[in-house]
Symmetry: D2
Subunit: 328 residues, 4 copies
């Protein structure tokens, strides 16, 4: 008798996160993508828009009412899930990869995203297993998948916060590849000719991922930089601490399949294509330079979404998620 | 009852091809890497040298006599397999990723690689399943894994040669990422500062992959270019033909799991991390522009080696080999 | 007594070619940019849109009738010069960097650019000094500045064509950075995330620069490739010849300040920021691999435009044009 | 009567800084490169090693005693100038681009560079005109050209330090291209295949540029990152301040030709090829995010060296130094 198979619908399949979910699920033993949608390309072949995917799927319109699946991955722009996720979550597992359910405070959401939030009467949970624990995720019908910057930052910081050793306001100097901006957004800044061989800060004075971090770890100063990379986030966290960082991580993450404490400053490329978060610290007495690297499209998006889905479906949490990086 | 498991030894594990074999075998249901060797780093952890790999392997010295495995992947510099492969092939399956057994003619080998070839009294075969067929590979103890440029070129050209429609001498204008040069070779030309945002031809007047191609497809004019890419090969083949190209491919490759005929000029990135070869043709009467893309480290090295090993071990040919690309 | 000063107006100053003209003219002893225009940003500071330029110019609307200058550089999309250049050329020197006056045959223009051409009753000339000679340029009021691909290709090919040694149809396999597509065009293909670490062919079956080449050199087969570079063109020309290439070049270009015959395959980066075209040939009997590299924004656009303007104004042809490349 | 001409000798001409000095001096009205040396390539043409340079210079051995020039640019590895600069400075102006004379404290030098310093009995000065003033430079025979990281950092920080508004220890999170490591150093880390599409921190816990900064600005916490760029430094300085930053800069730098205060987060590319330092600040009450960008090979090396040489020779400080960037 074979393993039980679950069907997955990727809502917004031609963007980077949606397509990455399809790629990752190719290697998943128990979840199969049966539906892929696109608003603009319904009726066309997925591979016409994503030639890197070797799937025979024909894109469907996102008429959610007509789509059956065990789990839905919502990979749309912010605002979409606000409208559709609550109803959908009554009949299927839903992981929302947008920012719609990341903030607990509706006023903060409105302030950050410039849009009213219908409120939070329906149950949902924020799903970053290493930080939030698994219990609520396993029980949830609707999980908010965290942002990429918060994922790298909180995995590094939260054990330190909980151990009570963080002093003052940590500075999070983050470096990201451009795929975080999405595939549909075609800003001049994201053209190869503009960004190749160059870097710049952006999002100042307050990037919209800052409140998402702060609701868990307290105040930080967050400055993101755009790098000439397609994927990857490196968060350098400068902070004062009341004790050694590494033992705190070692205790917190001893059993985690996707967190690794490394002995040399990690490259973003060493986690490329994986669901890992590699952590490094260089500490001199009370000052620590903490570094976390993730692949923004895997642990920072589609991979963590599958990790959450595994928990929601009662599967082994790490199932189907690569931990060997694609290098060079 | 579980599936039968085979053990694999990666000889030369810290180079690009060896490490890529380890990465790919992470997802293989029936082959497990049990030994990884390094001449210079024996006794050290694999992940100290390849931090992208999440394996607990300790590198061993390449004392082949003491190493037991069902299949050996030889990922050493040219010359190594000449000495070691024949004896090894008496007790295990061997796939050699170097150039040592690619040329049938010892004199041509000596001319190309500047080294005597001890001769070819031991049996071996050249393994490019789509081109050479599977029979000899399935029966072989020692398989020569093809070069990256020949793989892209021959998959595109050989059906046309066999169909008798090639006229004159095809021109193969190839573009490659730098990982083809290997990780140990540290030429000024390969420094990021020299090559970023730049391209140049190299290997003129006669690159050493040219005889490997020509022994199968006849004379070609081959001009490789180094591109600011880490991975990927795009071969643009300009040729005169006596009939339409696409139907010939469609017939030859109808059942191939790793060859895809595409409708738009393919990007090298759409096969990144996969064992695919995507083919495209733009034809005007008797002149055709034929394009083939592969990942030089997968279909051009470690992936094709696993494909060959699958055949040698009696496993399904495509087992464990990704076909969805890593994009962006 | 100082040197005579000429004023220049850059029409379309915030695009790559217009801005590059401003950059290059910073070092020009006798031409000064006094006017820079932009349709969309009139009234704003040039440096707000082009922060790499250290000029205090305020962008003006392109109301040509109100703009006085000795020489106008038209850096607008195709179509603009058709309407404006003839009248303007009655009162000032005009160099048009668009494709509007590159083709001699109005029907070919219409076929290629999908737009009617009002005809060619006004005098103009195609200005590629090394190929067309200087006489007509010196006498012209309106010069059509050549396309980037034709510049690299024709400088390499025309001496061979004129020497009568070209046999058959040359194949021009060209590699280009993305800035050739312009700054205003924001295609998905040009996003860094899509193109970094990747390459693809485009423009098949017939790129619009092909007729521009063919009106001078006869039939060619032209296949351009988009590379992950911001600047630079490398044209690899595969051709059969009836005699040695290099002596023909040496004779043709002995006195040229911007053409250099080099002994090793040139990198696009070695001409970066310069008005040079470096040529290389690898020849075996009757087959030659010819390589030409230029900076598409300098010799392929703004630099050649200044070279033409120098001639039109009676200045030394090479005045103000760099020949040392920006490396790395 | 023409302008007086000065001769320059570039000692170590085939490295990045030496070659860049040659490039920049092509546009200099009064300094001409007459000698270029190389230890390993003496007797060969400069352009065989630096094909981007269009000079006819033949490389000479660095036999300083036989070389006559008005100004020497020493572009050798650390240690060379220790031995040769003092004697040379008795007969010519000398700008040393290495670290040999950057630190005032011989013990700190030995601690940082692992080499004895023969002491400082000969007069020399540290030359960063915007920070150190011009008086000592104008009078000096031997000027120590600052490091690239200290240049970006100190131009941003020193006015704030002098105004007494810096509170606590600033954090300098720096991002650099790889050319800072030099052309001769061929580390695996600097191979394109390793670094493309990736970033990592390095130099922890204490990079050797840190004491150079600290002798001027007091304690900082400095963490450099290697980016997939050939050129450029972006220093993000996180600090607490007792008052507004921007007015302090505006007063300090009102008359500086190479310092520009900009209104949007600057890209490293906007200063590419120029001698500029662009400054930006985003401030919220007592916390400031300060950003400085320079081209590490121009303002961070060869350009600042020419700026110093201009002062030493009594020429206008900005002579021959570009301020328009090379973009894209």
């Amino acid at each position: 008798m074979g393993l039980k198979r679950y069907s997955a619908a990727i809502i917004g399949a031609t963007g980077y996160a949606g397509a990455e979910a399809i790629r990752l699920l190719q290697g998943h033993p128990q979840i199969e993508v049966t539906v892929a949608t696109s608003e603009r390309a319904a009726g066309e072949a997925l591979r016409a828009h994503c030639p890197w995917l070797d799937a025979d799927l024909i894109l469907r319109a996102p008429d959610l009412a007509t789509i059956q699946a065990d789990v839905f991955f919502l990979c749309q722009e912010a605002g979409y899930a606000l409208t559709h996720a609550p109803a959908l979550a009554k009949r299927a597992k839903v992981v929302d990869l947008s920012a719609d359910f990341r903030l607990k405070d509706p006023a903060e959401y409105t302030h950050t995203y410039g849009r009213e939030h219908p409120g939070f009467e329906h149950p949902w949970t924020y799903g970053m297993p290493e930080v939030t624990g698994r219990e609520a995720i396993r029980a949830a019908q609707l999980v908010a998948n965290p942002g990429c910057f918060p994922t790298a930052t909180l995995i590094a910081l939260m054990p330190l916060v909980r151990a009570g050793i963080v002093q003052g306001v940590p500075i999070v100097d983050a470096k990201t590849g451009v795929s975080g901006a999405g595939r549909a957004k075609r800003e001049t800044d994201h053209l190869l000719a503009e960004l190749l061989d160059a870097t710049k800060a952006y999002g100042l004075p307050r990037h919209r991922h800052e409140p998402e971090m702060e609701q868990l770890c307290g105040p930080v100063r967050f400055v993101p930089h755009l790098l000439p990379m397609s994927r990857g986030i490196l968060a350098t966290i400068h902070l004062d601490v009341a004790g050694p960082v590494r033992p705190v991580w070692e205790e917190a993450y001893a059993a985690e399949p996707f967190v690794r404490i490394v002995d040399a400053p990690p490259s973003t490329k060493q986690v490329r294509g994986t669901n890992r978060c590699d952590l490094f610290v260089s500490q001199t007495d009370s000052h620590a330079t903490v570094i976390a690297v993730i692949d923004n499209l895997v642990k920072g998006a589609a991979g963590q979404a599958i990790q959450n889905a595994n928990l929601m479906l009662g599967l082994p949490e790490a199932m189907g998620l690569p931990t060997h990086g694609v290098w060079p």
